[in-house]
């Protein structure tokens, strides 16, 4: 589905050159849940932005369903760390934005929006403004907005980073439930190794300076996963340790949780 070959990205500003990504090779399959883990500055968000078409590669190729990404990739949904809900719209109005863009009729819109509000458990808050919602609720609204236009791939850039530990697990659980129901391809960027293992089919470990892939590991834990209990699975420890050893090489170069 997504074919990345020999991809490099270099940022130049005022004389300095910053190699964000160097010779990245990665194939992501349809319906897969893949996590990118790594310290700050390792290029994982840059790669996400390239899949979304916000940034162009300097070298190499990035094919989405066999076609190179030219301009904004409207086949993906993108959930960023900072929620980009429009502050002057209610929850319901925010979630209906993608449908407005596609000129869906009012009746159909209303029905669909309410369905997605139920899917993310926000019933009762549809007339609230973002300022009136808690962080977790805003994330859920953003997720509903991302899902509602049915993109095949969902990109998520540390969506749960700002939430507290308990709420994080709750959101992970909901995300897995939605993934099972909708069977989308999900690319999930996180600092949190535990989160990556909880959620993914495969984990891609990035290194920094220069940004590159250090390891791609298949997560051999059963589906369906209970995010609250999976850490007690007998293989969890060795998986964590193996990935941590790779990540550790960059500790000190950046932030890793």
């Amino acid at each position: 589905m997504i074919d990345i070959q020999n991809l490099s990205k270099v940022f130049r500003s005022g004389g300095t050159t910053h190699v964000a990504l160097q010779k990245v090779n990665l194939k992501i399959n349809k319906g897969e849940f893949v996590s990118f883990v790594g310290p700050s500055g390792c290029g994982k968000s840059t790669l996400l932005n390239m899949i979304a078409g916000l940034i162009q590669p300097s070298e190499g190729s990035l094919l989405y369903e066999g076609e190179p990404v030219v301009g904004i990739n409207q086949k993906v949904g993108y959930m960023t760390q900072k929620d980009t809900l429009l502050p002057w719209r209610t929850t319901e109005a925010n979630i209906s934005v993608p449908l407005e863009i596609r000129k869906i009729s009012n009746a159909e819109k209303k029905e669909k929006v309410m369905r997605y509000i139920d899917m993310v458990n926000l019933r009762g808050f549809e007339n609230h403004y973002p300022m009136q919602l808690s962080g977790g609720m805003r994330k859920r609204a953003a997720l509903a907005r991302t899902l509602i236009y049915d993109p095949d791939t969902i990109l998520m850039d540390e969506p749960f980073g700002a939430l507290d530990a308990q709420l994080k697990l709750v959101m992970q659980d909901e995300l897995l439930r939605i993934w099972r129901e909708t069977q989308k391809t999900i690319i999930f960027v996180t600092h949190d190794l535990g989160e990556a293992i909880n959620l993914s089919d495969r984990v891609v470990v990035f290194g920094a300076k220069p940004g590159r892939i250090r390891m791609i590991k298949k997560i051999d834990l059963p589906r369906s996963r209970d995010v609250f209990k999976v850490r007690f699975h007998p293989h969890y420890g060795e998986i964590y340790e193996e990935l941590w050893d790779v990540l550790e090489q960059d500790v000190g170069k950046g932030e890793v949780v």
């Binding site: 916000l54 409207q74 993108y78 980009t84 236009y149």
Partner: protein
Amino acid sequence: MESTEVAAYRKRVQITRMIVIAVLLIIWEVTARAGVMDVSWSSYPSQIFGQLSKWAMEGILWVHIGTTLNEMFWGFLLGSAMGIVSALINGRAQTLEKTLNPYILAIYSVPPVALAPLFILWFGLGVTGKIFLIASIVFFLVYLNTLAGVKEVDQDLIDSMRIMGADEKTIYTRVIIPNAGIWILTGLKQAVPKAITGAIAAEMMAAKSGMGYLIMESSSMLDIGGVLASLVVLLIVGLALTELVSRVERFLLRWKTA
């Protein structure tokens, strides 16, 4: 919701304010009647009130208020519309904006009052000139504020809209304009007192009607009561307009402090 203590305190402050004003008015009235003050210089509350009632009943008051409000309404509408549209265009057209900016700022630095004679010469004594004067005053404030609003829009919001499939027109109407809304309202709020100043100044210089004209008429007859009465009306009109804009702002921005 505020506690009852805070509410009670606020009530006390308001009552105190009213008592202070009432006391001052009584002192004024009494000293005037006792002949301690030169009333041809200071007038006194009941004379002012009497003048206002006379004007109100004769209909003069409403005619002049009507003229001034009429000028302000059309001037505001014209100035805001032009200000908003120009800012929306310039906000996204960088070269155009950079080219025109210094000229706009230069004209903006001329006090609007100084422009009044120009408009009187161009358009004569009637309301048209006043409308254009007010429009030009409002234009600058609304333009500059709207421009700031258009430029400071969060790029992340725009990117996320693009990924969801929005075209430029949708981004304009759904993101840039609402986002600039706050700034537009600020511009309008700032423009109200300036527009009043401009209108009154122009009416005082040369006009056939309006609050400014009324002030000059009273002044030329050495009618201090009339002058003060006109000022009282101006005060009330100014407060009412500012309060109106505040209410509109609070309604449109209810999502902010929710």
